[in-house]
Symmetry: D3
Subunit: 322 residues, 6 copies
């Protein structure tokens, strides 16, 4: 395929793209035309169909993969495609991976790592609870594996939620070894479940936007409620254990002003908050500087709090393992 970020003035192209948006408009002279946003993993590009009722233009909808032929022009300094022919693409004509941002880590691998972590949770109630989500609920599993961890800023790609969940869980695992007095099973369970509400808060790709429920209720509330319903299905699930687990979910943003209705009151809740915050901030930093010049200041980055730049390269590269 021809990636959208490679198009040049004068090109003639025939390729499949994802149609992110489509609208029928009217020229000043009263003639109908269509304005589309085409998308692949490299860019979003405007396209026009000046003669939408011509024979060469087939039926299609927003979010369809479409096969188009057309001419590339530059208008006001921006690339635009004038589409001459268009049809819905067949499933075998494209690979979704070319069209959506993806986690750099393999989805199957991450899922199997996640299942391994579940096995380390020995408390029978917590273990059953984790399996009720990650093993026994196929709809949940499918959503969870595809979902991003945020609309923008960090982990905003397919698999982002699972990648974030795994890193947070690994940091928590470290904490249980570095500090006495942390309950391993409670903390690891909370880490694995802390953002499950996001599968309801964010729609799936390519939209990846807040749902109505996401906007009204938020992933913190929805995640804690999901845990309540699942725990109710497990015989004799201890009510105090459930409350402590739900507290970890409710408090994981750390402060009321960041949307947690409770601040962390248990050490596991505090530890989860630190792990979540560490991964969110470092991943945000990495995504902000990667591919940038080392010597260039990039300006104020709101979530990180200040002006940032990539670090200079000084290290004499050798093995740096401990």
């Amino acid at each position: 395929m021809t990636y959208l970020n490679e198009l040049k003035d004068g090109d003639r192209i025939s390729s499949v793209y994802l149609c992110k948006k489509a609208a029928t408009l009217m020229t000043k002279t009263g003639k109908e035309y269509m304005s589309l946003t085409l998308m692949d993993k490299t860019a979003n590009t405007d396209a026009k169909i000046w003669d939408p009722n011509s024979e060469g233009i087939g039926e299609f909808q927003e979010l369809d993969y479409i096969y188009i032929s057309g001419d590339v022009t530059v208008f006001n300094g921006t690339i635009q495609i004038n589409i001459r022919r268009l049809r819905k693409a067949e499933e075998n004509e494209y690979d979704p991976k070319d069209y959506l941002p993806m986690s750099p880590f393999d989805n199957d691998t991450m899922y199997s790592q996640l299942k391994n972590v579940i096995d380390t949770v020995k408390n029978p109630y917590l273990n059953k609870l984790l399996k009720s989500f990650f093993i026994e609920d196929p709809d949940f599993v499918e959503s969870f594996r595809k979902c991003s961890a945020a609309k923008t800023v960090h982990h905003s790609f397919v698999g982002g939620l699972m990648q974030h969940t795994l890193t947070v869980t690994r940091l928590c695992k470290i904490y249980t070894k570095a500090y006495v007095g942390l309950d391993h099973d409670l903390l690891i369970t909370a880490a694995l479940l802390h953002d499950i509400g996001k599968v309801k808060e964010l729609s799936q790709f390519p939209e990846n936007d807040y749902t109505d429920d996401g906007q009204l209720l938020g992933h913190i509330y929805m995640g804690a409620e999901m845990i309540s319903y699942h725990a109710k299905e497990i015989e004799d699930f201890p009510s105090k254990l459930l409350s402590e687990l739900q507290h970890c979910i409710l408090a994981h943003h750390g402060e009321l002003e960041f949307g947690s209705p409770k601040t962390p009151e248990l050490i596991e809740a505090y530890a989860l908050h630190m792990a979540d915050n560490t991964d969110a901030k470092l991943e945000t930093f990495i995504e902000a500087v990667q591919g940038k010049e080392r010597d260039k200041w990039l300006g104020i980055n709101r979530p990180l709090g200040g002006n940032i730049r990539r670090t200079s390269e000084w290290t004499v590269k050798e093995d740096a393992s401990t």
Copy 2:
């Protein structure tokens, strides 16, 4: 010895204590007497010498270890010792460990772990810089090994600074493995040096209080300046590397309002801030709840932000390794 927290009304004791404070006062009837604060690792206790000029009372000063004989009484509900005889103790009559709060980790072990970490820093300038502090400067090493990491709240014991430094360094080491794009040598060096200014900010035990310079300049400024002087002694130390390292020190409190004159602008500075904050908060939590009842709310904890309590005990105890 008889620990101070075991004294009862009517006891007669003869034992060595650390004299934390001593003052000569006047009774309402115009008679001189002395008021002392005695200290061991279990408690601080008031003591009086009603006849300071008697033969049995030898010469001594604040912070001396003193051997006393006296009677225990209860006054206004508080234990008080009326001292009859007193002399400075010989060095072989006491073990300082009985008198000062100590890190639960062995001091020699921690120091040798720290030296091992230095060996993993391969950048020759940074490696030399670390050794100029932790190997080649015996005064610094002695202070660093004894110093606490804070006057109160967390790590407020002998060896606290080294314990905190090691844990922060370990978390940073984990980050370099979990995230791409972190400079191992810069981050580990910054982690090892981030709080060295505390050897000037806090006086040694048993005082463990802010020094005049600590109050006026703070450990953040003093630490960065110490690095500047040491780096000047290393031939060809790259100036940009020095600036980036000093930036990590200056920014490690994360926000201006917490006393950093710069917010983290490099990813290593951000990572150091997260590790420092994680250890400070989790250690504060651990020290606040340890030994407390599991079901009892302990009230608002200012540094942690809310009401806290120990977690209930649910875990079926088995091996929880990954």
Copy 3:
């Protein structure tokens, strides 16, 4: 009965009081005694049993109503009762209303007003939902009718939650008439249910303190979850209606920093927040100034934000109806 705020030095009394706290202590000379806090609606008073093993002292526990005989003395300027005889009181020997702070409004009247409001909600789903709580769930009804609306500050008395709920609902009813575009049924339902989580957040009188779940999860979360479970029992309850109703509950504190995980995004949520805040603040003001001198400044009142005093009396009193 003899009210506790009427006791004088030298009185001999025989009366029933509520035993709020009881502890067995030791005198300095090693003798056991008991220290009690007695309570009626007028005051809390210390009492001592110097001879707890005497024949005249019967079995009892904290929160029992106890019949005592004893002598009133003044110790350090404070009234104290030295108890000579004590036994648990029979149910017919006391009226709980004499021992607990009560709403100035009649409990039965308020409950019947509340049922009348439910009838004005015509949306069948919302009407069923309200009845599932306020009519068909006797345990909930009993708790709701007795519960306070807060541990301190305002409505901290038996019936306080119902009184607050009714006033908030009345203000919301006014809003639906004063403004176009407010959904009457959604708003009135949200008003009636907005604080139901408090029956789980606060324990019943005389304790009236945060429960463990109240501290860990809070009434905002628990109230929204309770609605979820009840709505699930109602056939075809529209999911969007449920989300909008739950949003009103979650957002009713108005701002994240006051513990709402969402700010009001629907006008009914905003209206509920204004009504809740209006009643909380005006009731707090009323309770703070009532009974105080008109000319005296009472000092800073934290929830109200400043120094307050009662208003002077100027009005020529006549009928002031519109």
Copy 4:
């Protein structure tokens, strides 16, 4: 008349509009032309007079109603009128209501409701004070009836100040019935007078912008001072009553950071603040969502604090009166 929001490319029009702005400019070739902003209640539209010295263009000024003939064109996607003929309109050629945003409530009706409320204030001093403004000062009455309650955000239309004043007064009336201890006459007087400073703070329509005094002194200060001068004219007006009334005016924004130099220290001041805030916020919400699609999120609304949308329609519509 032809409303400005109905114009289409190619129309020829002859109609009266309000000339909001007019400026004489120079083309790049050095020729004079005029650029106008025409206004009616539906829109603001640009217009040009390319030959301002032609015979058909009469004398006029900004804020005149002008009768124009011209051609409608589209330039850069925006409607523009090229004016061929222009003259000042006669008073009988237009109705100001077509040109300015108006309150949905009838101005005379609101004014007579306001006078009725004054009659319910029985305190003779307060009653006289209210009449000195709302009955006996015709200039004030005229300004007050036309003034908006704000430059933008809410009640930004002719009659807005009176509409806001009435609603705030009604809410306060409700409070005097729902709560004991509120002084009816003081509160109602304060409600009626709370924003009178706005007749000096904002200029009249069509400008409706901050005056120089409005910017320098603000309506809170000016309103309190106006009351001082009027009260001085009333014999024996009690000075403490005046201070308490002025306090209500000064404190009605509730917090220092919203421009009140005092926080509410009397319950009437607090009640006024709650009523003012309730109407400001709910009216802001109503104006923000009215006419919008029910399912569409409208983005962050600064004064309201978050993302907002209209509520879905669920209510089974029947009579909902209590």
Copy 5:
């Protein structure tokens, strides 16, 4: 006289003191006695009259100067006077300066400096306005000369308001020389008048506390209103000049959250704010450290924002004039 800070156990005294407070109380045995607070410029001291109805105890009231004879004892470590005889003192028996805290600067000198500054204001309206307060209004002048500038914290002594006003005016005078574009007459007038509202906000010594109007309206509002009334008496006082002057008064606290209803919008208003803030903060610092040890940290000082101490002495003392 015998100053209160010089009394010792066992002294017999006969001297005049100011009676700041007096209350009649009852002993536990039901006998009446009186408890007084005596005051001079060095201290406040408790005194008791155990036999208030004896012949030797004359009539007196709070705030009278009283001549007493009595015995000094120490009770609970505090000095107490047992009064045997008491009568109101004659005016010639005491000098008020011995009883109230006084500005270190001579009152007459300050007043004549202030009059000199008025002469430098050449704008005839502003000059007349200043004279209408500081020359032609004897009641105002008397209050202004005696008033403090604050209840506590800084300038809390007789003459404090005039001292503060003079220093602020001097700083403003400097600014008019150091910066172009400052209107000398407007700024100096604003400086002289900026705190005149304090003569109504604070009661005179020895009470020196907030008045009811001071609490309800504040000196910022009252000062601006006083200027309004005075300016109205001056023929043709330009209204814009009045608004700009009042703005300077309203804005002189600099930020809304410090009680100014407007932030400084004119450069003279900003300059006045800087001068007022400079004098308030430096005088607060001086009063906080004077007489303290140079090497001792004094703890957090709220208005100044941190821990403070006196500076060490290093300067080689010679003439340091420029």
Copy 6:
């Protein structure tokens, strides 16, 4: 020379300008051209070289002074110069003062005033320290005299740092006379040195932007460190004096959130902060209003906190000296 702010459509010019930026670009048709930003003290102007390889276009770089010949045109309402010939200018063809913003005060005069102030510092250590910077370090002196005091907002011109330093020092000098207890020599030394770190924080004109070290370390840290190194060269410099001086530098922004790692703990530090803030704010105000219309509101000015305008002109102009 022809100043850039005087150019008109159609002019032909030949003059020297400073080339602030230069970039080689490609037209849509693939032809190379150059886009330049030319600068003098009156304006920045775009210029194009459509035929960069022609013989008339000589070698040059960004920040060169260049002699150009070209034609002035208006494009999209903006002036643009089409350059036909270009060469680097000789040093004698231009005067840098015509090209860079300059302090209104003469540089030599300011420097000699600064040296005079140094002579008033009698403490021998501080006097030596000041001379080590301002007399004996020619590189520092040259940078200090040219540097601005800020990138934007205030004193953003050649000599700005020295002008700001002098005014702050003068205000401090006034304080030492107005208040007892200020150490003249410490305060004046701190004032003179408080912003020396800016010579490293900001690059020289015409760039005048943050350096990499300025961004990473900031002028507060760098200034304090510079003082440390200089003091080390002075025999017997008292360490406590050095700490107090460095504290003044570290604390001069007054609050942590403005980048000071310590709040002012000594009165000299507080005084320096007030002087620095006064000059920064008043100079910002002056630069914001100068040349603006007196009656026009200029909108919100972020550093000053609100909407601002120039003051009206009322003063009867006569001599206003004290």
